[in-house]
């Protein structure tokens, strides 16, 4: 059909929106790469920052981010996958409990990240940590009841839970019903069907969800503001109860709390570039894994 002038107006206006958004993303990436690429070097990636944070490297922040993200994954992913398996494979259709769980997952995904920070402080640090201190050590200086790697990781685990659940459930649902029926018809129990047939077939999709959750968790700053992230630490965290430096928090600190913003500028751009490369490469891996999994299911 021939396009009329009004078609061109609509296509032009909406196309402009696409151009603007893609352009802004391009500018964002360009600014960060242009400002940060020159800073990246062996010393930048492996050294500690100097005390005024205008020179040196960001190794403690990279290390802290990796440690926290790994602990978060260990704590949160199994629970998320279990929830998704229950929702997709065990929960009776239209059961009230499944509906409640789904509503909870949806709401959890919408909770502002700063509220997770308050929750981490109020629940993990003060309640759980404080209770451990009360029971084990009695009154005195807090041992567990203070911000630390552990509490920050657990807070992030709760934050990323909905990402894991939603993507995993989607992945499980794409496994054809025929496979389940065939497995059950051969006399396999439901448990065997789930873990030997359904989960292996959905592995690609599940992995995608896990990677996306890791990427999300690695970039969040607001939830860890009060749960363990430190402005500057002369040592690396070696204990679950230590505080830690974090790439995202480091960016925030350099950009807003540095005594000399101009001197810290190259460090800031370099740190942003490192964080962005980290999250983007995780997302890229997720995209590749997902497209492979889809191709496999189609075959």
């Amino acid at each position: 059909m021939k396009n009329t002038p009004k078609d061109y107006v609509l296509a032009g206006a909406t196309g402009l929106a696409v151009l603007l958004i893609v352009g802004l993303l391009g500018v964002l990436l360009w600014e960060i790469v242009a400002g940060g690429a020159g800073v990246i070097s062996g010393t930048f990636l492996t050294q500690s920052p100097s005390a005024d944070m205008t020179s040196g490297g960001i190794f403690p922040a990279i290390y802290g981010t990796v440690v926290v993200t790994m602990l978060m994954t260990i704590a949160g992913v199994p629970v998320g996958i279990a929830t998704a398996i229950w929702l997709s494979e065990y929960a009776p259709r239209h059961s009230r409990l499944a509906t409640i769980v789904r509503i909870a997952v949806n709401n959890l995904a919408g909770v502002p990240s700063i509220v997770f920070g308050l929750f981490g402080l109020g629940f993990f640090v003060l309640f759980v940590g404080g209770s451990i201190d009360d029971v084990v050590y009695g009154p005195g200086t807090p041992v567990w009841g203070k911000p630390s790697v552990l509490w920050a990781s657990l807070t992030l685990a709760v934050l990323t839970l909905p990402v894991v659940i939603v993507t995993t459930e989607e992945a499980l649902r794409t496994v054809p019903q025929d496979l389940r029926d065939a497995s059950l018809a051969l006399g396999a129990t439901r448990f065997q069907t789930v873990f030997k047939v359904v989960v292996p077939n959905a592995l690609g999709g599940i992995l995608t969800g896990v990677i996306l959750a890791v990427s999300r968790g690695a970039g969040e700053v607001a939830p860890i503001l009060f749960c363990g992230a430190a402005n500057f630490l002369p040592y690396l965290p070696t204990d679950l109860r230590d505080m830690f430096m974090h790439l995202g928090y480091h960016i925030f600190a350099l950009a807003t709390q540095s005594p000399n913003v101009d001197a810290a500028r190259p460090m800031l751009f370099g740190t942003v570039l490192v964080l962005l490369v980290l999250t983007f490469s995780l997302n890229l891996v997720a995209v590749v894994v997902r497209s492979r999994a889809r191709a496999r299911l189609r075959a």
């Binding site: 958004i21 502002p112 929750f119 018809a185 129990t189 503001l225 964080l275």
Partner: protein, 349 residues
Amino acid sequence: MSSVRVSLRSARLARVGMDDDAADPELGAQPVKRPPLGQGFKTPLSHRIAEKLIALMALSAVAAVALIFIFVAKEALPLAWEQLDGMRLLDLFLPRTWTGYHEAVYIWQPVGTPEKFNVVPLFLGSLKVTLLAMIFSVPLGVGCAIYLALYAPRRMREIVKPVIELLAAVPSVVLGFFALMVLATWLQDAFGWHFRLNAAVAAVGLSLTIVPVIFTISEDALAAVPHSLSEAAMALGARKYQVALRIIVPTAAPGIAAGVILGFGRAIGETMIVLMASGNAAIMKPFDFTTSVRTVTASIAAELGEVAQGDPHWRVLFLLGAMLFAITFALNFVGSVAIRRLEKRLTAT
């Protein structure tokens, strides 16, 4: 033939064993012969324990939502009976003539003496930044969705969609940094604003996080509109833009609305961008977008680290968190209702 029957039978028995005592509508009426214990059909104990464990873990999300609300509200609740220094509970929400002021004012000044906690300027700040961000991002997000769903060639759609989704993967602290270091300077140069960091800069930064939200949900909704509808309209001689604006967009409207609502929820709860780019001064000028604002989220983030536990200020910050939680909870609820309405509408045709 007989072997088939046997295997079918064993499969049935296996299912009976697996469901344990759950009533099977097909078999419930007739008595079922169970195999002797330990001979095949019963699910092993370890599996049953694992299944119970899975069901238990499935409650984690429910527990998390409940615990978040309980523990955030718990820190705020003592405000209701604890003595605030020279402040009444209502002063949190109503204007008051403080000593040294000539009229009743809304004022957030947690470090002044006496401490003045009025949450109205903060919520006004949040609302101002969020609404401005929505003005930018709703046309952009919905526009992108319409273009990709209706006009873009397939190849282009396959490239642009992941690119916009990539924007959603940029950590908010990076967007805050971008707004603070790059956008603020540009916008000030372009418009000659007096304050470098202001509501408008924060709103542009915020739009970068909400456009992907609005876009993804709207695009899904537009793509889900059945082809039969647009084909019928075309067959009746409708132009493409008519199909787009009178058939596809109205049909997908609940989905687009859900995207806008969820985007709003995301924007009002976003912390790092507004904390870094809004200037953070609690000024009560609802319609001036070139002055600094202080939002609810930024206040919590900036102030909680420096407050003693159990202080009235601490409690007020947790109260802000609880209110924020309630607001996003409500927005989420409305958004999911809109999505369900869309699903109903699409399956009805």
